[in-house]
């Protein structure tokens, strides 16, 4: 089987970045995330292939934080509108984990199904090749398996790499993956190797039946308790690989301008504020509840799977320690018969 020796990893990354913009997990200063390999600074940046989840997910590669949609000229008597696609050149995401790959599968459901296809997303997605990194040693906050994600078989992967110690097993899964393998040529060796064994999870979330059960818990007093410490800072939505809500805004000067979209957060009160002041989710508790119900119930009802892939980032990022695993388990254990 094709093997990628860890001693050749930089050669491989250099080779892959010849024909595409290559994104790899790096630690950079206080941050970590997926950065372009071209921007890698020997000495200050650190390659994080062996860390589990970097701080920021790779979502911006398929769904940028801000993205121009079209430009316009004229402000009245004649208007011209021109669709813009920003840099849809080929991209490779290298070394993302199963949870992040599954989150991209959630994006595919949102942007590419249900009546309308989002052309901006599709252009980026079609141009993206995914080299996913299978996990065998779940981290302190990982609970992907409980959310229906197999950490050893990342979905949506064009290539899966599996760590065997001093090398990775290189398994291409699609035509796009085959192309990468071909481009690497002799950098991949052919040897026998054995996949590692999946170790037990440290976080125990029990999501089974939770989506169903939540249907009857919209008015449960639990939400008020849980939301009472939330600062509605929105960090949880920003670090989440599967949160995709966006705003549409305009930038203009003189008779020209462009309209763009950018990340938004359902945690902010402006999110649903309407002219005249009516706001169906004006208080924090309502927004908090909507975020968790969207993740754990509404998305399941619509797309058949939760909008949480168990990466654990929000647990780490939340300044007040709100923990989605605890919420899942609390719902699971709640005795709704007494409250009804």
């Amino acid at each position: 089987m094709p093997i990628l020796s860890k001693s050749k990893i930089k050669d491989v990354l250099n080779q892959l970045s010849q024909n595409a913009e290559l994104f790899v997990p790096l630690a950079r200063g206080d941050e970590s995330g997926f950065y372009s390999w071209n921007s890698y600074q020997e000495g200050s940046d650190r390659l994080m292939l062996d860390a589990l989840n970097v701080l920021l997910p790779p979502k911006s590669i398929v769904f940028p934080q801000t993205e121009r949609m079209y430009s316009f000229t004229g402000n009245g008597t004649t208007v011209e509108i021109k669709e813009t696609f920003e840099s849809p050149q080929p991209r490779i995401i290298f070394g993302l984990r199963a949870c992040d790959a599954a989150a991209i599968a959630c994006f595919d459901d949102v942007f590419l199904t249900m009546g309308f296809v989002d052309s901006f997303y599709q252009a980026r997605r079609d141009n993206t090749t995914i080299v996913a990194h299978a996990c065998y040693q779940p981290g302190a906050n990982c609970f992907c398996e409980a959310m229906g994600v197999d950490p050893t078989e990342p979905v949506n992967a064009d290539v899966i790499i599996r760590d065997t110690g001093d090398s990775y097993i290189w398994e291409s899964k699609t035509d796009k993956g085959e192309k990468l393998s071909a481009a690497l040529g002799a950098l991949l060796e052919n040897k026998e190797a054995k996949s590692p064994q999946l170790q037990p999870f440290k976080q125990q979330a029990n999501y089974e039946g939770v989506a169903e059960k939540l249907k009857g818990m919209f008015e449960d007093p639990m939400w008020e308790e849980l939301a009472s410490t939330c600062q509605t800072c929105g960090i949880c939505t920003y670090v989440c690989p599967s949160c995709y809500c966006f705003d549409i805004q305009v930038k203009s000067w003189g008779d020209e301008g462009y309209r763009f979209r950018c990340y938004d957060s359902c945690m902010y009160s402006e999110y649903t504020l309407m002219a005249g002041g009516h706001n169906p989710r004006s208080n924090e508790q309502e927004r908090f509840r909507n975020r968790f119900l969207h993740k754990l119930q509404f998305f399941s009802e619509r797309y058949g799977k939760p909008l949480c892939t168990g990466c654990g980032r929000c647990i780490v990022a939340c300044p007040v320690g709100i923990n989605i695993v605890q919420i899942i388990n609390q719902v699971k254990e709640a005795d709704t018969s007494v409250r009804a």
């Binding site: 316009f72 052309s119 705003d247 203009s252």
Partner: protein, 280 residues
């Protein structure tokens, strides 16, 4: 779902239209008649469907298409309530706008065939209902008796006055009931809120479909009245309003439970509304 039809394949990018006529409906509502540059409509709509109107560079807003006149124009009736609508009320005939659509499910015009129709509207809420009302008149033989109950704050605030007072009452088997909130000089019609007037008129539920649109408080009370009057949940149709951005069920903004009002709505029957969390 209707096909996306504008000058590009991308549902988030508007096509350009020109305003061919503007009409004052009330002190704060204007009608805008738009058509594609070079003629024709930017897309075909069914009653109750929506269009996202762009005033460049100011903003975008979602509006019910109040009527599509064949392949000639789309008609929007827009109330001045904020930043973008303030600017919109200043433009003149010949101005060019962006518009994308059609969005939303629209009214169940087919399922209502053969039924008596009861339309209940408040304020600007008549704009979306009007597309259905006019559709019924256009296909008059397909629908039974038509009753329209409409109210607004004052006489001046009543939209589409020529139709309300002149045209619609002339239509076959049609009754138009109008009310204003407070008495005023020169008004000898009904005074009072829509829900109370509805109970006073008390249209029998048998064989009827009630379609309700207006401000959220009015909708809530009208739904209660209809229930009291014996209308079943399947006989009552309403529209929801949520803040919208994309219009195509992607941006996540307009959800009530697992439903996106821009895509799965804005039209729901009461049975469906009762399935949703009470967050609208």
């Amino acid at each position: 779902m209707s096909e996306h039809k504008c000058n590009c394949e991308n549902p988030l990018v508007p096509g350009v239209v020109e305003v061919i006529d503007i009409k004052d409906e009330t002190p704060d509502v204007k009608s805008f008649f738009v058509r594609s540059i070079g003629g024709g409509v930017p897309f075909d709509v069914m009653p109750g469907q929506l269009g996202m109107v762009s005033l460049l560079p100011v903003g975008e807003g979602m509006y019910s298409v109040s009527w599509q006149e064949e392949q000639e124009y789309l008609h929007f009736a827009i109330k001045r309530v904020g930043l973008m609508t303030n600017e919109l009320h200043r433009i003149e005939v010949g101005h060019q706008l962006g518009v994308r659509g059609p969005y939303g499910n629209g009214f169940p015009v087919e399922e209502c065939k053969g039924k008596d129709m009861l339309f209940i509207a408040g304020g600007i809420g008549l704009a979306p209902l009007r597309s259905f009302i006019k559709y019924c008149f256009k296909h008059r033989q397909d629908y039974g008796k038509i009753q329209i109950i409409y109210g607004s704050r004052s006489y001046a605030d009543l939209c589409f006055k020529d139709e309300l007072f002149e045209k619609w009452p002339q239509e076959k088997d049609t009754e138009v009931y109008i009310t204003i909130d407070n008495p005023e000089e020169g008004w000898d019609g009904h005074v009072g809120f829509v829900p109370a007037y509805l109970e006073e008129i008390n249209p029998a539920a048998a064989g009827k479909i009630a379609v309700v649109c207006g401000p959220p408080v009015m909708i809530k009370f009208v739904l209660q009245s209809l229930e009291k009057m014996g209308y079943t949940d399947e006989q009552v149709i309403s529209t929801l309003e949520m803040r919208m951005k994309c219009g195509i069920g992607k941006c996540g903004r307009c959800n009530v439970g697992s439903q996106y009002i821009c895509l799965d709505g804005p039209v729901f029957n009461l049975a469906q509304l009762k399935q949703l969390p009470p967050e609208w």
